[in-house]
Symmetry: D2
Subunit: 342 residues, 4 copies
């Protein structure tokens, strides 16, 4: 039984890790840290977990994390880059759900995140944890940078077309996220009275997930990619929907075949038959990214629709998937639950 530690377990990704690990046949949450909630039972903060965990939050230096085989960072930006080294040195493998190690280029990271990176050496060795593009590297990694929620859906939606080099011109990613993507946050803008029954774009001039997406697409293409990415806030809890616009002028391209082939062996990417419209609820609570595509009016533009649960395939579920890969466990262990509908 793998012993998993969670650093910063009071947010939504932390709670989701505990929920997923509670069903995992080969791993268990062994310790959870929180400075602010140290001494509080996890199930007191999250009553849904009553009966499923006896853990209490502990301080990071309590010793409870010693002996963990894997440590998940479910922390705000800037924590993992300071603390990951310690766990690595004690022999644990680390999966960082924050953005600290996602951007390979240090200068780009520092510009977008407004910080000086504390561990540039780790930045170089960290492996980007999108299994669909780097499963082998993940298997051997000591430190995995778990992808962002938007970047997971947007990359999975674009990749078959970009890798096949059938794309021309700039890309547009119009993405929409449920409020949980902002974390467990007491900001007025996420109050139900503000975010409920309404819809808006945000960070349209530039969002931190843009360089992460571009990095992935440029790696796939082997060259520069022009991308416009506009995120929006949905009046709901979970779910990301990415609507992707890309020019594929060659009518000879069999788009369905490209997607089917690319993801044939992927346990967590579901390519629908042509003409479908995936809805976010179909993956609510599940580790699936579900994809469909259209070519409106048989024009040059192909529209790809990709949905995921931002807390699962977009965060904690993908982190468990990475853990499974890193430790040679069946990749779907603990993750084989369908979406909760309705």
């Amino acid at each position: 039984m793998l012993k998993a530690g969670i650093v910063g377990g009071t947010g939504y990704t932390g709670a989701e890790l505990i929920r997923l690990l509670s069903r995992h046949p080969l791993a268990r949450a062994a310790a959870i840290t929180s400075r602010s909630e140290a001494g509080t039972a996890v199930a007191d903060l999250f009553p849904s977990l009553r009966g499923y965990t006896d853990l209490e939050f502990v301080t990071p230096d309590s010793g409870e994390m010693d002996g963990c085989d894997v440590v998940f960072f479910a922390t705000p930006g800037g924590v993992a880059m300071e603390q990951a080294r310690g766990y690595l040195e004690r022999g644990a493998r680390v999966i960082d759900l924050s953005a600290d190690f996602r951007i390979r280029d240090r200068e780009t990271w520092e510009r977008w995140y407004g910080l000086t990176h504390a561990s540039p050496d780790l930045l170089e060795t960290a492996v980007y944890g999108l299994p669909e593009v780097g499963r082998e590297a993940i298997r051997g990694a000591a430190l995995v940078a778990n992808p962002g929620c938007y970047p997971t859906a947007v990359q999975l939606g674009f990749l078959p077309l970009v890798e096949a080099a059938v794309v021309e011109g700039p890309l547009v990613a119009d993405a929409k996220s449920g409020v949980s993507g902002a974390g467990r946050s007491a900001k007025i803008g996420f109050n139900l009275c503000e975010a409920g029954d309404s819809f808006k774009a945000y960070s349209a001039s530039g969002h931190r997930h843009l360089p992460e997406i571009r990095q992935g697409l440029e790696r796939a293409r082997g060259g520069p990619v022009e991308l416009t990415f506009v995120p929006h806030l949905l009046p709901m809890i979970r779910g990301i929907h990415a609507t992707l616009y890309v020019r594929v002028p060659d009518r000879g391209v069999d788009v369905q075949e490209l997607f089917d082939t690319r993801y044939a062996a992927e346990p967590f990417v579901d390519v629908m038959p042509p003409g479908q419209h995936p809805d976010t609820r179909s993956v609510r609570g599940a580790n699936t990214c579900r994809i469909s595509w259209h070519r409106p009016q048989d024009g040059d533009t192909v529209v790809v629709l990709a949905v995921e649960d931002n807390l699962v395939k977009g965060a904690a579920g993908q982190a468990v998937q990475n853990m499974n890969i890193m430790f040679g466990i069946d990749e779907i262990a603990g993750l084989d639950a369908p979406g909760m509908v309705p």
Copy 2:
């Protein structure tokens, strides 16, 4: 591996049965009937189940249901009372999620449901499937009447006090349900524009779950019970919250102790510490009924708060729990998942 058949699988309880059975280690959905959707893949109607089931809907007479060990009726009222006998005669055990066999008194049933009962003999042998009050009878039953969603929460909330005979005077059950309690229904009143962002009572003058609740409470008390039951429609999908008002004039009664003791051995009833307020989301997708209580201003009135997921502990989950009991399987098999929060 138990083979389970589902009659009428196109509604929410049918879909929820498939979802729960997909995770069950010792049972699997073997056949699902629907006259209107015969020939359609289940996963086409419920894309969330893509990859989790290969079943197609079949007609009831297709033969696919032969050999099922257990047959679930997830049908509208009036179907099970006609068709249950056939499955019973072929040796299957039957769990009816509709109301056809819930009321022991035939006259009462016929008055509230406006039908002539087609199988009064079965009505007499059917066992009411609330495990917390009749586990032994369920174990031996051929035909189990799975309780209604409201009756489950309301009875579990009242029972410790009624059984202990500490209650005086009339009872009030103010109950609230998410829209899925009305089934997968194309009625204008359940359109998001009508039921969303709004709240109202319905059937305040008399709801069919009233006689079912009263039957259970009168059995527990061994005498007549005066009950006012008012259901309300919540602008959300899943969840029932019952707020129960009951007079317990004797201040010497240790209410917490009554609840703790009554449910100490119950795997799916969670009694919270005093002074808590359970929220419906804490049991979203889980088979738990979570209960707390208050004695406001230290007065005569005790307020009990009970929550459940109407589709799980209030329907499909309880049906699986009953199946587990009937077949001697670990009672929590397939049901040991915490609520999905957020």
Copy 3:
């Protein structure tokens, strides 16, 4: 044109006052204070008001409030009791939307609110601003205590029966409110991910609106009233629904007639025909309290259903109604808009 000042205009009741006054034919918002937002344009904080107001938030001592005929306090508890006197002395009439002057008995107020009252003399002269019970007193009042949101709905629902002295035994008020009732607050519990798609009771052991409701009912009855009041949080923005349980054993009582007569002349109380279920959306944005009632199973218990918009009839609308009464304006001026459905 009446000049209205608003103290503390950054919350929902403040914004609602501005919205309502923007349509008022005989009054206008002349100044709005906020220490934290001084210098900010009101329309920058509330873009919905772009084009409808040129006001900026000012500090209370800016002089902009001078010359206001009426001053609304839309402040947290404890502010009006300190500052109302100053405005009164300068000749303004004051309508306090907070709870500072709602409870006539100082000791009761101090016990429930945990403060020492700063202006006990004003507490004695303040008039409780529920027009349906004290229109004449409001007309002549210098200082009006605008009722709480729950107390408005609960009192209007109980009053015809309590005043007619047809009630026996204890009262139960099971009340449900949209999240805006908690104000414009950056607390985690009101985040859409916490309060959305869920339902729970809160303050079941005792809520501050209890003594206010009891005060009104005891005044109406001329004697003590035993009341259990349990508030709940609805996963929606606006709206209160009160479900009231009361024993009226005398079958000769014509309940409909009592309600019809009691509210025949009231412009903002709408008694529905028998057997209806008012929904909160029917009064969304309107100053109406809509009421219906049932006598389930023709028993002793009468169930009253009362809905209102907590920000309108439960706060800002009622405040404008009080202003209209105080200044001899047509009582419905600025308030004659139907609910926004859907």
Copy 4:
């Protein structure tokens, strides 16, 4: 006082017309037809209108519509093209809220709507009722085709750039609508359990509003326009958000100035300062289209964000605006209410 008749008043646009007309100082709803609800009081179907209208639904041939100065068609497709002529011949002016007269080219209309047009002569004389592009023509029109909800937001968002001829290449309109855009419909897909807490695209391969949008943009440009338009369904009631992607390679173009100038005199288009993100709730219930724009990473792509209430500026409000223009009334009469926030 203008006498307005409404044909087909049982849907959301019909109800919204009644709501808006109830506040109109110079017009009133004089008659409302519905075959299915003839004899029902309007306020029984829409209790929010209790006290605001005494009208009953009547059959179209009841004579109640005689003498109406203006007739609104709030009917499904195909009705107005049959019945508009009759009202026109009796001297009424007609505003059709359906799509029957929106597409000038008959062949295009018949292809997208799958019907043979019953009144091609009227199609030629009908005036497209987008005041911001054709106010003068509307003034003199006998028959106005009220624009669709998506086309209003998308055209208003694109027009300043298209008219200024600063656009290159194809256009992308990623549009999202609340559920009320689908009308008052008892379809399972709009049940709260299906459309709530979820998000999806629909009609991505081709939606009927596409040719209407293209017609407007091509008229503005004076040439062909390549447009990809993908609508999505938001889990909320009212509101449309259009996110528009357009190439404006010339950095010398002052986009803000183009929008400010274009809409300076428009009472119902609100151009925000640069860098803002309008939210749909800011126009909830209001007749405003609120617009902002961004140029992400200072690239070639300009992103325009436009919001409206689909039932107001996207339907009934715009219809009243058109009525005001047609009859020489102050254009904002009955429409000068800010959005309802929260």
